[in-house]
């Protein structure tokens, strides 16, 4: 097992900065998930850690040792790729033991380890078959088995579940999390699927435009996004964002007549310049009686949760529904659910008041 550090890591493709000044420490045994939109540099970072991608500047350290110039095979890592990379001419068993055979591990050890991983992944029935005979999900399971059989110091996973059916993906995700905790292997996982990131990660590294936006535990990144980008990228339906306009006694929501009074806002917010409010739909609740008046436009479902869209003035917002059907109502803005961002830079500016 190993601690992985990235220090001022930059990778250039010609003039294009694919990875720009990235700093990160992944602790021994930690499960870190790189999350971000396509082309944000997350896969490039992972490939650099693997040694499949050269670096332009900065250091990659494994347990304090600089590994930039080591070949992938010398780094004691294992990797699972997005698209199936099993060796099509070899049987499942031969695929799994390939890393051991390639390194000349004694036969008896190979047999013992094959038994071990076959047990973990319940692959006993498929060992003699060839990759082409297996569904994509099972193939990735084999790729994972091939990755862990060598008990690597660092396990690198590049969108391993993205090419798999939804149903099987759920199962694999659960198994993967379970396996990682059991083995305690330092794991770096790349995905663009926030649900994968939220359910697997000890910490999420959110990337955008080749830079790290935020590094935090899933709950923290959800509740306290570091920027407007983080707020919008994570959570579905995404966070409501409304520009606030200073008025006497409080801040007004955009061009509406709704005013959040100073009592409802964290102290000192008014002095920070133009401010944007971010609030998650689940922090907007319909209430009876006191609250801001609104009209429910429509209701919709995401999974088991029900949401509704409503209007305050011209702004269309989303909230969690606890009743059914359109109609008038009123709403509470819960202070603990409110995030404030600098309207110009998009950066978070006010810490949420303690709930």
């Amino acid at each position: 097992m190993a601690k992985v550090e990235l220090r001022d890591l930059s990778i250039l493709f010609g003039a294009f900065k694919a990875v720009d000044q990235v700093n990160l420490t992944v602790n021994d045994g930690e499960f870190v998930v790189y999350l971000g939109p396509s082309g944000c540099g997350k896969t490039t970072t992972l490939r650099a850690i693997a040694g499949l991608q050269g670096t332009t500047s900065g250091d990659i350290m494994f347990d304090g040792q600089r590994v930039n110039d080591l070949r992938p095979s010398e780094r004691n890592i294992a990797m699972v790729f997005q698209f199936v990379s099993l060796y099509p001419n070899l049987s499942i068993a031969e695929n799994i033991v390939f890393p051991l055979k390639a390194r000349g591990v004694p036969r008896a050890d190979i047999a013992r380890k094959l038994d071990w991983v076959t047990g973990i992944f319940r692959l006993g029935d498929d060992l003699r078959r060839h990759p082409a005979a297996l569904p994509p999900g099972a193939r990735q399971k084999v790729a994972l088995a091939r990755a862990v059989i060598r008990e690597p110091a660092v396990l690198l996973l590049d969108e391993p579940l993205s090419a798999i059916d939804e149903q099987f993906r759920e199962e694999m995700r659960w198994e993967l999390g379970h396996l990682q905790r059991e083995l305690g292997v330092t794991t770096i996982y790349v995905t663009h699927d926030q649900r994968e990131a939220m359910s697997l990660a000890d910490r999420i590294v959110l990337m955008n435009h080749s830079r790290i936006v935020q590094v935090a535990e899933p709950a923290r990144i959800f509740h306290e996004p570091a920027s407007v980008f983080a707020a919008q990228f994570i959570g579905s339906p995404s966070m409501n964002l409304i520009d606030l306009v200073p008025v006497p006694g409080g801040l007004r929501l955009g061009d509406t007549t709704v005013v959040l009074t100073d009592a409802e806002l964290p102290p000192g917010l008014r002095t920070k310049g133009p401010v944007r409010l971010g609030i998650r739909p689940r922090d907007l609740r319909l209430v009876s009686g006191a609250g801001h008046a609104l009209t429910v436009d429509d209701t919709f479902r995401v999974g088991r949760e029900r949401f509704f869209t409503f209007r305050i003035g011209h702004a269309i917002l989303q909230g969690t529904d606890h009743r059914s059907g359109p109609g008038p109502g009123s709403i509470m803005f819960a202070l603990e659910g409110m995030n404030f961002f600098d309207a110009v830079t998009g950066q978070r500016i006010a810490e949420r008041a303690a709930a």
Binding site: A50, G51, L52, R71, P72, S73, I77, A78, M79, F81, F83, V84, S85, L86, Y87, P88, N89, L90, F98, P99, A102, R103, A132, R146, R150
Partner: protein, 299 residues
């Protein structure tokens, strides 16, 4: 109304036959007739030079005569040696060079094109070209040998040297074909396979023998069979390069067929020999066809 009337007729057997008939008739004349004629001749005593003497039924005597003729067995032995030398060298060199050409380097495309050139020549042209280069008195090959202090070799005047010389020319000509197919096969292997193998700690040699070669095997196998068939019936190269000599030391089976048929005009005997040759080549071709059809099933 019109469409209704046309529909059943357009899918009728007659229509299908109608469309196929030009090809079928052509094939009948170009392939079926010669083969039937060949087999028919092979059971008769017949000379195309003296058609007036007519054909007399010979039964299997052409075949029994040929198969008991030790001179003919020598032709088969020589052809076998030639095929083995050519095909093994071409496969090994072709695969090696094809693999090296996977790597990106300056001038790779130019080199690749240059390597393909010998294949574009006619075997007769290549044969004459090398006949001059291999001339024992004033050929460039012996000149280079003497420059480096070697002895002159009578390349085309000695039976063993002539075999090597012919194999060298055939290899010079046809290795590019293997390079071409090997390159195509190697390029079909996705990069992630190599990246996975690199992460898994496999050495380049291990990757080559455990992954690259087996994964390219279907294509390389086709190349092998095509080369086997082609070099087995090699004729024109020998006409130009050695003329079958010295003596009849470099006569292949095909050469013997041509000689029997068109120098001695023993048409019946030559036909029988051609039938034997045809059977061997069809055997090889059937392996190829079967292999291709199983490959189609797998995909």
């Amino acid at each position: 109304m019109m469409e209704k009337a046309l529909q059943p007729r357009s899918t009728g057997r007659l229509m299908i036959l109608g469309f196929l008939s030009p090809t079928l008739i052509l094939l009948l004349f170009m392939v079926a007739y010669p083969i039937f004629a060949l087999v028919y001749f092979s059971f008769h005593n017949f000379s195309a030079l003296r058609p007036g003497e007519g054909m007399t039924w010979a039964g299997l005597s052409n075949y029994t005569y040929l198969l008991s003729d030790t001179a003919l067995w020598d032709r088969f032995v020589f052809t076998g040696k030639f095929v083995f030398l050519c095909v093994s060298t071409q496969m090994i060199v072709g695969i090696f060079v094809g693999y090296q050409l996977q790597k990106a380097f300056r001038g790779r495309d130019v080199l690749f094109t240059a390597l393909m050139l010998p294949m574009m020549l006619s075997p007769v042209v290549a044969g004459f070209l090398w006949r001059y280069m291999l001339n024992s008195e004033w050929g460039v090959v012996n000149y280079i040998l003497t420059v480096f202090g070697g002895e002159k070799v009578d390349w085309l005047g000695r039976a063993d040297a002539a075999l090597w010389a012919a194999a060298l020319v055939d290899t010079w000509m046809w290795t590019p074909f293997i390079i071409l197919l090997a390159t195509a096969a190697f390029r079909g292997i996705p990069d992630t396979i190599y990246e996975a193998a690199e992460v898994d700690g496999a050495s380049p040699a291990y990757v080559f023998f455990r992954l690259t070669l087996p994964m390219s095997a279907p294509v390389l196998f086709i190349a092998l069979i095509l080369r086997l068939i082609d070099s087995f019936k090699q004729y024109d190269l020998f006409v130009a390069l050695t003329g079958g000599g010295p003596g009849s030391a470099t006569e292949t089976v095909s050469f013997a067929v041509a000689k029997t048929a068109f120098r001695f005009f023993y048409t019946g005997e030559a036909s029988a020999l051609a039938v034997i040759l045809l059977c061997i080549i069809m055997g090889l071709a059937m392996i190829l066809v079967r292999h291709l059809s199983t490959m189609g099933d797998r995909n």
